[in-house]
Every structure is written in C-alpha cells, then in structure tokens.
C-alpha cells in the first residue's frame, strides 16, 4: 500500500503500467517492485523448480523472486528484476515461468512431489530406456526448467561500448562512497563515481538518521550537488561495476535507456571499460535471511528492504508487520514503519539479551517456526520461551545479518576472510591491486564508520597517486555498534528455503553432505545453491553455515565458493555492442570495388576483403557460364583482375638481401636488380608458411608479396625474425599493401594491352620488373603470372587504382577481353597447378608440394632444421598431385581418395582433394589434392569419393600441372 508523505517518488508525475495484462498506476521514481507493492500485488513470480508462488524479497539487484519479462514494442527482455526496473509510462511487464497463469500454475504439482525431487535426484533416474533421454525426459525437463523467454527475434536494440580513464574509481555512492569521492575530488583527482541505482546515496536514501544535524537525505543532496559542480568528477548513476580485471581495468554496465519508453537511437545499455589508477570499493552490504519452514511465502521479505520501500518509495508491503532478526539492524526499520502508521506487531529477536524497543513488543530469544499463506503471508508461528505462539501478520521482515559486498575483491582470485564478530566474510585487503575497500563493504556498518572509512580510503588512494587529501572534519553521524548472534536456520520438520531462486532448501544441503558432497563446491554443484540469477547473494553464506554444521566443520574451514564476474548479470548485447551485422569485423574494399559492382559482379568475402566472384554478361544464367567465358578469355585474348589484396612489403637496406635469404627457403640474394623470383617461406616448425614473389627494385630495395590470407602474419613474422635474431642488421621494412593498387593483366594479348595503357611496349622478359609511367603516374610493372599465360602486374598508388582498373578493362574490352573474377582466377591457377592456402593449409611441407629443392642446402633459413625431422618427409606422406576424372561427372573438394578395390574407411583413405574446377581449356573437371606417395603414382587410377555428397568418380593421378607443362606461354 502507498504511504502518504513518505518516499522520494514524484507524486506529481503519475505513471501507468501493466503487469500480466492488468493496468496499474504508480509514480515517476517508483521501481516496478515498489509500484506493485503500492498496488498490493503480492505474488509476482513462480519459483524455478517447485513453481511456488513468490513475492518480492528485496529492494535491490540481488532479488531472487521478482523476475519478470519486460515487453517492448519490438522485443521482450526476460528475467528483469522488478526491484531494479524503473517505472515509465506504458511499461508492460509479464510474469514468467508459469503456465497457464501466475495464479494457477499447473507445474506447482512439483511442490507436492517435492520428496522425490530432492537435490540431485535427476542423476539417479531417467536412465532407462536409454533412448528416452533425448526423446522424452530431456525435452520435458527443459520445458519445465528455465525462467523467462527470449522472443527468438533479432535484438534490434541499440547498445554501446565506451572507454573511460580516471585516477580514482569509486564504486558505490552510499555514505562511504560519497565521502571518498568528495575527499578525492576536492583534492583535484580525476574521479569517477558509479552507483547501480538511479539515485545516488545508497542507504542514506532509506535511512531516517541524521548527518551533521540534518536529515541524511539532505546531506546526501548537498554532497551530490557539490560533486556535480566539480569538473574533475564524473557521476555515473545507473552504472553497475560488474568486474575487476587486470591492471586497473573494470567492466561496468550503464542502463542508459531502460528506464524510459524506447526511442530510436537511444541506447538501452552501455558497457564501459574503465581504466583506473586506483579504486575504492564502497558497494555496501547485502542482507541475508534466516531459513525456517515456508520462509519463501509472499510477504516474507528481507527487513532492510522494508525501510527502503517505505522511505524511498513511500510504500509498505504490509499493514501488520512483524520483524524477525538476529541483529539490531531492524530496529530503525521498525521505528520508521511505526511512525508511518504501519502496525508493527512484534520484533522477534533471536538474541536472548536483545534490548527493548519503546512502544513495540520485543520477544527476546524468539524464533519464527513457520510462515503460512500460500499466495500471501497471513500468519506465522514462533517459538518463545518454550512455547509456540501464532501471530496474524501480512508481512514479515527478516534479517539474518549483513554480508559485505566483497564480490569484486574476489574477481582476481582473492578469497574473503571470515569474521566471527560480524558472522560474515569480509574482504581481504590487497586482493585487487590498487583497490581499497570502504564502508559496509569492508564490514564497517555504522554511518559514522562508513564516512570515516570512505574518507580514509580516499586519503590513502590520493597518497598513492601523489596527492594530498587535505584536512577534513568528518560529519557527525550515528555510530551504533553492530551486534549479531548468528542464526542460520530454525530447526523444524518442513522445508526451509536457502536459495529461493533455485529452490534449494536446508534439507537439500544436508542431503548433499550425507551423500558425500561435503566440499562447498560439491554442495553448490549438487544442489545448485547459488547458481541462479541472483548467484546466491542473500543465501550462500547461510547455505555454507548449514553445510559446515552438517559436516562438523567451522565456516572458515568449509570455505566459500568463488565470486566471478559479472557482479550482476550483463546482457550479451551490451558486452557485444558493435558486433551486430557487419560490425563484427572490419570490411576492406578494393579500389575497384565500385567498378566491379557496377558490372553486377557478386562480391565475396576473402578474409576481410571483398573480391569480385565473376563478371556476368546479360545472357549468362549461371556462374559457371561466366567463369568458363572468363577463363577462355584469359587463355585466348586478355583479362584484367584486381590483385591488390596480396600483401606487399617494402624491404630496404644493405642487409635486406641477407635477411630475405634467411626468411625465404630459397636464395634471394643472387637475384639481379629488375628481376622477380618466386619464394617460399617456412614456419620455424618446418611447414610452409606462405608463398609469394620477391622483386629486386634496386641493389638494396626489394618488394615482396604475400598471399592475401597471410599478409599480417608474414609481417609479424618478419618483424620477429628481424628484432629477435638480427636486430643489428641494416634494414627496414614496412607494409605497403594499402599504398598500391595492383592489377593482373594476363593472356596472349597482355603485352598489347599493357602497351596500350603505357603508351609504349613493355620490354620485360619473364620475371622482370621495372618502374613505369602510367599516363603520367609513376607505377611499377612486373612480368609475373598466376594464370600460366603471359602476364603482367601493373601497380599504381592506391588513389589511382579505380581509374586504372576502369581504363584497363575498357582497353581490354576493345581487344575482346575484359575483367575476370575469383572463380576464373581459381580455375586458371588449378590448370597450372599453382597453389593457394587450400593446398598450403598448414600441415604441408615443401616436400609435400614438390618444392623440397627450394629449401636451399647452402644456407640456414627459418624452418629448415625442423623440416628435417623424419616424420616431415618420405613416401608415406601425402604429396600434391593432379586428378583428372575419367568421366564428365562433377568432383568435389573435400572428397577423399582411395585405391581401387579397397573398402572405404579411415585406414584406406589415401588422400584428399583440396581444389576443384572445371577447365574449359581441357574440357574436363580438374582437381588438386594430396595422395600418399602421390608423386610415384602418376598414371594410376584412384577413386575420388565424397560420401557426404554422393560423389564417387574414378580419376587419373597426374602431375599437378595440367596446362602448358613446359611453361612456354609464360615465357612467350
């Protein structure tokens, strides 16, 4: 119910929303949870396993019960904490994990079957008959499990990622965090203050205490106003620091647009990477419950949340409230409720020596035995002085103590330390280098202690940053001691809940111990304690205590499970912002890209590049027709192709030749100026790294090319070899891949086309290179060929690439030629037996591709020694061969090769096919592949079998060079 005169909501801004289709009213400043409480909605969800009706338990992100689907115009968001979701006009929320409705959920039958659904029961059954698992048992289990639903539609929401850097990151804007930020910011440090809530202040917003003689909320407002005025401080509300990573890097999630109606281009969330020289964790403490029979009934809540709902949101979940605690923290809440006109029936304080409370009955040494009311608490029974009493209440606030929010201090493998005094784990100082912990997160619970430790942490952080924190009078505030007498469970017959979200009861934990799952990790995994969306924030320590008790060990010896990022769950879309669609990887475009698209060429991915697949003519209906035509065109007249994607590295210096001799398996230093040589590079492990050409442009000036795929890899490799092994040698090299556009011109008319473009006949012998002037632009001409025809590659600075491509293609067309794409390029090279990374796929040696003679015997080179290993050579290895089918049948790359007459199997597979194409030149399908002892088997007939695609074709094993084996055309 709404309480007049209380709360920080804006009562001038009414908001309407729906929950499960019913309209409700709330105010700006409400969370969905507070608005539901205002409307007396008690059941908001169903539990995971037993489908028990559940109400709101907490007022924070640690909420285990009140998880709902928030439905937007285009999509829905499952598992949204009603306690975090701010109310906005038109918000549509829906309960989840129930069928057909929240009030009538048929799977609640599980609750009746609970004796048979104890911890780990599924490991003991559903085993027979075996085939029923995938067919029946698993689908049923899957449907019953899970919580909210994804729509299955693409998430069209907008998400962002950002970086921030600062001197000091303060995590949490409660009393400790505010004080720390204030001290640090006044000292001039560059500070970021994050808080997961919409409004900063933490518990000061829920607190009716005084600071410096003024209401805590007013003090908070004054501090925030000062902080907001400082240019060196950035306030980041609605921002949860989710992870502490190495070297001062923190992950943080900002809820940018989740608190308002969706608008185009308004990001839903932003994932921040914050790099901070120092940090202060002031994330407060989380309250925990006490387990007793049916303690999960709607209306049983954590006591601290009652104060928050009252003072921050102006609502009370009950009219007749009782409080059950083992510590004194509920007293202020009781007073607040009473003052607001809520009937506080009793404080059941388990401590026999608990103090009295004026005007409120206190039952000292009392324990709640059971809560009653399936759809909402209506009464409870408690034990006091040996007798059982009943109490009519509609709300019970429980406090089993407070756990410092140590989570982030554990993200770098720090282990928290058990404090007997607090009956809680406290952080290990220094667990995250550069991080100080302050306030309740460090176990300092009073407001005074929080302010003091916040200021102290700031001063220490400033000192580490080389700054002076200056003098500061601490504001006056309450400093009541925190007294707790641990009580984890109330013994009894029924089920008492620990982990509400995953339906883990005290019995489950004791059963785990009974069955030998005595390690805390075993218990967690066997019972699923703490593995639900709330990660056991309010239940893990109690479960640990139960386990410790069941195994006869203390809590410190029992240990704790590990906290890992994220602190609260983060959407995949936020951490993956920017990855959608084409954003996942850079796109690289050729200078000829538009010219190719103008000709309707389909562009295909080649690594990060896009290259034209083929250039269709109007009458052509299949890619094959275009490909065949382009191949014939190159063989008969002339073709033009953009080969700029090849890596190009410019190498210069007196020791360049020596260096190239070291990185190439063959010798480069003997190459004359003005000549080009094919080169093979090995990895240091002896396998082929890459191939390419090496052109000597001058006595100390070289240009080497790499394959498209290996451009970056080769650059890195050369940098390593140079810096690691011969840093003293006189040479420099740089990638010039992007600096030059380069076009292959191939075919019997290639020379004529080049002459036409240059205005003079090229006078280059095979494998020659020379500087040229292309219509006034300085360029380079290489006489090299990847097609087997007389071929040239003409290079110009990138900015002239498109113009040159269009010019060359236009000239080619007047000669009966034209552009050719990747498909034709592939067929042309297969006809010649030229390799690509389809062949040099990483397991291949120079020996395998018949190039062992290219590993010079006269010099050392990278990879030479490892290539000499016995397993790296010899007849048993698959060697590259050509394959020509005996029939017209289609053959496929990916097929395996078998000798005739053998059974098909792993042992009999003698090789495989790497490349295929149809050769219009030879009127046959052709393939390159690898065959065991292949070079000795030329002429043999083998079976090419692709069982995936039903291909079984006899082929003749040949030399890989099908076309012009003597290379007469190349040298023409």
């Amino acid at each position: 119910m709404r309480i007049d005169g209380k709360g920080r909501i804006d009562r001038t801004r009414p908001v309407t929303f729906t929950f499960d289709g019913r309209p409700y009213a709330g105010y700006r400043g409400d969370t969905l949870a507070s608005a539901l409480i205002a409307n007396d909605v008690r059941v908001v969800g169903r539990s995971f396993k037993y489908h028990r009706p559940r109400g709101i338990l907490t007022a924070g992100s640690e909420e285990p019960n009140a998880l709902v689907e928030v439905v937007g115009p285009a999509n829905q968001t499952p598992n949204t904490r009603a306690t975090v979701q701010e109310l906005f006009e038109g918000l549509v929320a829906r309960s989840q994990n129930r069928w057909p409705s929240l009030s009538l959920d048929l799977l609640e039958v599980n609750d009746l079957a609970a004796p048979f659904l104890s911890a780990g029961f599924y490991y003991k059954t559903f085993m027979w008959p075996r085939r029923f698992w995938e067919g029946i048992y698993e689908p049923l289990i899957r449907r019953a499990a899970g919580l909210g639903r994804l729509s299955g539609k693409h998430d069209e929401g907008v998400y962002e990622k950002a970086w921030a850097h600062c001197d000091l990151l303060v995590i949490g804007a409660g009393p400790a965090g505010l004080m720390a930020a204030l001290v640090a910011a006044r000292a001039g440090a560059d500070v970021i203050l994050c808080d997961e809530s919409a409004e900063m202040g933490g518990r000061l917003l829920s607190d009716e205490g005084q600071i410096d003689g003024m209401p805590a909320a007013d003090w908070t407002a004054a501090v925030l106003a000062e902080l907001a005025s400082l240019p060196n401080l950035r306030l980041m509300p609605r921002t949860t620091v989710t992870g502490a990573y190495d070297d001062g890097t923190y992950g943080a999630l900002e809820r940018v647009g989740l608190h308002r109606s969706p608008r185009p281009n308004l990001p839903r969330e932003c994932f921040w990477r914050i790099v901070a020289k120092r940090s202060i964790l002031a994330a407060g403490a989380l309250e925990r419950g006490i387990a007793f029979q049916d303690n999960d009934r709607p209306g049983v809540m954590l006591a601290g949340s009652l104060a928050t709902y009252l003072n921050r949101y102006g609502v009370s979940p009950g009219k007749r409230v009782a409080l059950f605690a083992n510590n004194g923290s509920v007293r202020a809440t009781a007073r607040s409720l009473k003052a607001a006109g809520v009937e506080v029936v009793a404080i059941l304080d388990s401590r026999p020596d608990a103090p009295d409370e004026p005007g409120i009955p206190v039952h000292k040494g009392a324990t709640v035995l059971r809560a009653r009311g399936r759809m909402g608490l209506h009464s409870l029974s408690f034990a006091h002085e040996g007798r059982v009493h009943a109490l009519e209440v509609d709300c019970l606030g429980v406090s089993g103590g407070w756990n410092p929010a140590v989570h982030l201090t554990c993200h770098r493998n720090g282990r928290p330390r058990w404090s007997d005094e607090l009956a809680a784990f406290v952080p290990m100082e220094g667990a995250v280098p550069g991080m100080r912990v302050a306030g309740a997160a460090a176990g300092s619970f009073s407001t005074h202690a929080c302010l003091a430790s916040g200021a102290e942490a700031a001063r220490e952080s400033l000192a580490a940053l080389g700054r002076d924190g200056g003098a500061l009078d601490l504001p006056r505030a309450e400093d009541a001691p925190y007294r707790i007498a641990p009580l984890w469970t109330v013994p009894g017959k029924g089920r008492a809940w620990l982990d509400f979200a995953n339906d883990v009861t005290v019995k489950d934990v004791t059963l785990a111990a009974q069955e030998g799952f005595r390690s805390v990790e075993h218990m967690k995994r066997y019972t699923t304690q703490g593995m639900a969306p709330d990660q056991g924030k309010s239940s893990n320590v109690a479960a640990l205590a139960v386990l410790a008790d069941a195994t006869g060990r203390g809590i410190p010896e029992t240990g704790t499970t590990t906290f890992r990022p994220p602190y609260t769950p983060v959407s995949i879309a936020a951490m993956g912002a920017g990855g959608r669609g084409a954003g996942f990887a850079p796109q690289r475009f050729l200078t000829s890209d538009q010219a190719s698209r103008d000709r309707a060429a389909p562009m295909v991915e080649a690594g990060l590049w896009y290259r034209p697949s083929y250039f269709p003519k109007p009458q052509e209906t299949t890619w094959r027709e275009a490909c065949d035509r382009e191949v014939r065109m190159v063989r008969e007249t002339v073709g033009v192709s953009d080969v700029s994607t090849l890596g190009k590295i410019d190498v210069q210096g007196p020791d360049a030749a020596r260096f190239l001799d070291f990185v190439y398996s063959n010798t480069m230093s003997t190459l004359p100026v003005g000549k080009v040589r094919y080169g093979l590079m090995l990895r240091e492990d002896g396998h082929v790294l890459d191939d390419g050409t090496c052109a000597r442009l001058g006595a100390q000036h070289w240009l080497i090319t790499t394959t498209t795929a290996a451009a970056g890899l080769v650059m890195r490799h050369l940098d390593f070899v140079h810096q690691a092994f011969c840093a003293g040698w006189q040479l420099r090299f740089v990638s010039v891949t992007e600096a030059w556009a380069q076009f292959a011109i191939a075919g019997p008319q290639a020379r004529a086309l080049v002459a036409s473009a240059l205005g003079r006949a090229p006078e280059l012998g095979f494998m020659g290179c020379a500087p040229v002037t292309v219509q006034g632009v300085a360029g380079r001409l290489f006489r090299i060929s990847f097609s087997g025809e007389e071929g040239y590659e003409l290079a110009v600075p990138t900015r002239f690439g498109e113009a040159l491509f269009r010019d060359l293609v236009a000239r080619a067309e007047t000669m009966g030629g034209g552009p050719y794409g990747m498909e034709a390029l592939n067929v042309l090279r297969i006809e010649k037996g030229f390799i690509t990374h389809a062949e040099i796929h990483g397991r291949v040696t120079a020996f395998d591709i018949g190039m062992e003679k290219m590993v010079s015997g006269k010099k050392d080179c990278i990879g030479k020694a490892a290539a000499m290993r016995p397993g790296m050579q010899g007849a048993a290895r698959a060697q590259m061969v050509g394959l020509k089918p005996l029939s017209d049948d289609v053959i496929t790359a990916g097929a395996h090769l078998f000798a005739q007459g053998v059974d098909l199997g792993r042992e009999t597979s003698a090789g495989y096919v790497t490349s295929v194409g149809y050769s219009p030149t030879l009127h046959s399908h052709l393939a390159l592949g690898f065959l065991a002892n292949g070079r000795a088997r030329h002429g043999e007939t083998v079976r090419l079998v692709d069982r995936l695609r039903g291909v079984d074709v006899l082929c003749t094993v040949t030399s890989p060079v099908f076309h012009d084996p003597k290379g007469e055309k190349l040298r023409a």
Partner: protein, 416 residues
C-alpha cells in the same frame, strides 16, 4: 546402492534419509599397485577402467582439492567425434561410443544429450575443409551431414542470414554430437570407481614423485608417502608442475580459456552451434542457461580467469551470428587452465621414467575425451602398451615430426 527411479520414489517416501554416500572417504594406504595423480574426469575414468577392464582394484586416485575440481567442472560440456586426422578420428570415435552407454555403465545419469552439433561455414573454402572432415567422420564410421544454407536455416531459423558479417554458406551437422552434464561425469566415474574398490583420496596433494634408478617407486603427498610401482599423471592444467617432480619437461604451455553462462531461459537453442569465423560456440543447458565460449585469452596463465578483450570478442561474435541472444544476460564467466600442446592433440604415453605414465595436453577438447582417455590410459598403465586408438598420442611425436595438427596452425602452443 543402485540408483533408479524406483529408488528415488522409495527414498522420497522415507524422507531421503537412506541415501548412502556416493563414495567413501578413505585414508590413504601406505602402498597401492597403482596411483593416479589427479581426481578429475580423466583420472577418475582411468581408475574406473583400471578396475573394471583390468581388474586392478588396489589403486588410489590422489586429488589435491575435491573430486572434479579441474576442467571437468568448468567446461562447456560439448561431446563430439568430428575429427579429420587419423589418430584423432578413431580415438574420439571410440570415446563417443563409450559416451553412448555411459549412463548404464556407471548407473549415473550424466545427461548425455545427442542433440546434434552444427559447425557453420562461411566460404567455399571452409565448406571444402568441413566436407573433408565430414568425409573423414563417415570413413571412420561416424555420422556427418553437409547442410546448405537452407538446410541450416531449417534447423536454426534464428541465425542472422541477412546482415551477418560473414554470410552463412552452410553447416556440417554431426547428429550424434551433443552435450553432457559435466560434473555428473566426474561424480559418475567416481562413484563407479569407488564401488569397485578404488580409493578416492581428496585433499591430498602430491608434492613429489619418487624415482629410483629411473623407475618410479611412489609419491610424496600432503598426507604422507605412498608407494606404487605404477604412477599415472592425469593432471591437465598442472601437467608441467607434476611432471617436473619427476624431472620431466613437457611440450605444454598453459593458457586460460573463458566460458560463459547466462541466466536460465526457456528452451531456445536446441543444438550445439559453432561459428566458423569468430571462435564462438553455444548450446543451452537443460537448466536453461546458454552456455558458450570462444577462443583462448592467448597468454600463458594459471589464473583460471580471463580478461575483457576475449569476453567482448565472444559476445560480439554471438551478436553477429545470432542477435536473438542479445537480451540474455551473462550470469557468470570463468576460466579454465588448458594444457596447450604444439599440435593441439593430447598425450597418452609412457615417460622416460619407468612405471610413470602421462595423460595430458588436452588443449581445450578434454571433456569429450574423458571416457576414451580413461580407457586408453588404463590400458597403457595395465599393459605397458598403448591402446590402438591412442597409439599416435606419443610424447615424442614433436621431436620426430609425426604431428596431429588438425588446425594446421603449427607448433605455437596457443594457436590450436
């Protein structure tokens, strides 16, 4: 105590008070016929098959922490037999066959779910490479189906077919591939080994390996010395440290691999899916969490935790491939320590120390190997000879060049 649905019912009626411990908690004896260092999946499976297949029951498994505390408890649970190279092919094929009978074998529901694994490909070249692999799988006697784009769309309608950076050309479907409940595998083997008399000794860290005249004689532990003529090191994640106790250096570098799980969701992904261009794979657990991961963080680490660059890369890959998962929230991330070898394949072999055996180097494919690894390691320890399906997992293959490099990425440890 035999597990069954009837037993669950009967115990339920009795308040579940009669369940016996899944395994004993014995104190270590002074001597065993054989000792296995490491109570993870592989070590427990080794112990089980030593007892079952070879009748060796006077044996102990020594575990530093709790049973199943290594990578068996922190993987992404994928079970598959989809390898190309002879050596790997027959081994994983054998493993998958063992998986298919594992519930009955162990009397423990490990929830092996053959929901189908799909490796997506994104270019003609990738299709050919996957076809080559699929044909190898069929040649081995396993199953594989090559799907075109429409075939993939039929099974996985929620992928982004229109805007993703690397278009989906098709996929290689491995129908018998799937997942299993990882912890249950450790517990199932542990319980079954215990029932055959194997001593499972937890909180017992091996601090030294005793070698006399080139022969192993036992181990030193935090719970005293234990004599044994045969010792198996089955400690992936700590292989180098344990081997060093016997003076051995292994061809292993340890790396961190992160994995992620989301909050529980109603069923939305029914297969195991692997992206061909971005190191991303995903499945949905029976509890409803999306379980996914990507590549290594790529630096040597024993921290069992990772950093944001790979976290973000994995999420970005998920968003380009299947943007429908965007609103699922990552609940937890963690890291495992991977034994990375120079060819990406494991080692099950003798060592230069007589009586000392090594099972290591599982890179990040160890989970699916658990049954066959245990089977073959048990065979090796019992007979002194390599099992035929693990015969190529030699320790000396790097020196000799008889490599098993599926990825073709070479001897750099972290590239597999």
């Amino acid at each position: 105590m035999r597990y069954s649905g009837w037993k669950v019912l009967a115990q339920g009626l009795r308040g579940n008070t009669g369940w016996a411990p899944a395994w004993r908690d014995p104190a270590p004896k002074a001597a065993y016929d054989a000792v296995i260092i490491g109570g993870g999946g592989h070590g427990l499976a080794t112990a089980y098959y030593l007892a079952k297949n070879h009748g060796l029951t006077n044996i102990a498994v020594l575990e530093k922490g709790y049973l199943g505390s290594g990578n068996i408890g922190r993987n992404t649970t994928i079970v598959r037999a989809n390898y190309f190279l002879p050596g790997n092919s027959e081994f994983y094929s054998h493993s998958l066959k063992l998986w298919e009978g594992l519930e009955a074998e162990l009397n423990y529901n490990v929830m092996h779910s053959q929901r189908g694994l799909i490796n997506l490909f994104h270019s003609d070249g990738q299709r050919d490479a996957f076809a080559r692999r699929g044909n190898a799988m069929i040649n081995q006697g396993d199953d594989a189906v090559l799907l075109d784009r429409e075939g993939v769309r039929e099974l996985l309608p929620y992928l982004d077919y229109d805007n993703t950076r690397f278009p989906i050309y098709g996929g290689l479907l491995h129908p018998r591939g799937g997942t299993a409940r990882h912890d249950a595998v450790a517990w199932g083997y542990a319980r079954a080994a215990d029932r055959r008399g194997v001593d499972l000794i937890q909180n017992c860290e091996v601090t030294g390996i005793d070698v006399v005249d080139g022969r192993v004689t036992g181990v030193q532990t935090t719970r005293g010395a234990i004599r044994a003529r045969k010792v198996g090191m089955v400690v992936a994640g700590r292989s180098s440290q344990v081997a060093a106790m016997a003076g051995l250096r292994l061809p292993i570098e340890s790396h961190v691999l992160q994995a992620f799980v989301t909050e529980g969701l109603k069923p939305v992904i029914d297969h195991v899916i692997s992206f061909g261009m971005g190191h991303f794979y995903i499945s949905q657990s029976d509890k409803g969490g999306l379980v996914f991961g990507g590549d290594l963080d790529f630096y040597a680490s024993y921290a069992a935790r990772g950093n944001l660059p790979m976290v973000e890369h994995v999420m970005e890959a998920g968003m380009t491939l299947m943007p429908m998962i965007g609103r699922a929230r990552v609940l937890r991330s963690w890291g495992g320590i991977m034994d990375m070898t120079p060819d990406g394949s494991p080692i099950i072999d003798r060592t230069p120390v007589a009586g000392l055996f090594v099972d290591a180097g599982w890179n990040y494919g160890g989970f699916k190997a658990v049954p066959a690894s245990g089977w073959c390691m048990a065979h090796l320890m019992a007979t002194g000879e390599s099992h035929p399906v693990a015969a190529r997992f030699r320790l000396d293959r790097f020196a000799t060049g008889h490599l098993l490099d599926e990825e073709g990425t070479g001897s750099q440890h972290n590239l597999h």
